[in-house]
């Protein structure tokens, strides 16, 4: 069982993901609405997470949030893996390449 921290501003989507994770993965999921707020980043220092997921719309400025997370994660003793889940019409390779060059995976939600 892993401990996952999900950053998702969309409450409906968040609940959907939470129930899905519980059913399929049995992992412990902690949710936070904002990805760059100091409170959310402080969570990273208080608990040991195995995976961070940022859920965002592909036309949003998700790069900024992801970079803020990466900066926080780099200060941790046992940094978790990072994943970015994008929603929206755009599904080109640019975001995947952006993530690959910075050490995290980007996937598109259908």
């Amino acid at each position: 069982m892993g401990h996952v921290l999900l950053f998702d501003p969309d409450l409906q989507h968040r609940d959907k993901v939470r129930s899905l994770f519980r059913a399929h993965l049995g992992c412990l999921l902690t949710c936070s609405v904002a990805s760059t707020a100091p409170d959310a980043l402080e969570l990273l220092h208080l608990h040991q997470f195995d995976l961070l997921i940022l859920s965002a719309l592909s036309n949003e400025n998700w790069h900024v949030s992801m970079d803020a997370l990466r900066t926080s994660v780099s200060q941790l003793n046992n940094p978790p893996k990072m994943l970015c889940v994008l929603r929206g019409p755009y599904r080109g390779p640019a975001a995947e390449v952006y993530g690959a060059r910075r050490g995290f995976r980007v996937i598109y939600e259908r």
Partner: protein, 175 residues
Amino acid sequence: MKDNEGLQPLIEAVAFALAAQRQLVAMGPHFIVVHRFHRPGTLCVQGELVGGISVHGDLEECRISLSSTALLILDFFCRHQRRYFSAQRAADVMNNDPFVIRHASNVRGYRNRVGTLTPASVRVYIQRIREQMAEAFQRVGLNIDPSRVLVSEAGESNVVEFALLASREFIHLDD
């Protein structure tokens, strides 16, 4: 259930990432050491050439760009994985290690340019190895500080000891 079909890639990616993270925490990153000019029936013996060392990420591997001496030092720590050596001890052991002394002697015409190592040079090379490791880790998506992989710990009388806390495998090539 149809509503959740779009989230199937996410479930798969999360399951994969959690498994990879568990392995990383338990074993450390995975290094692949290539020994070239190996003689059949032997493994990691004198005469072989350290052809390269790469780190394996989740999906790809990346070569750590190092000079031949730095490669030999990292190879030494890979062969003595999870064992602590002070810079003095590492230099002493390497200067008397047949693998290092007769490095690449199986290669016709190859001149071994690895001179006598001193504790100070070992420390400098370890620093350089960490710098190159950091670049390789970043390229394969590992958010790890290299000083937590090639660790240094202060032992008795403030002597700093080094060790490689990682998993490794050796690949032997005949040429």
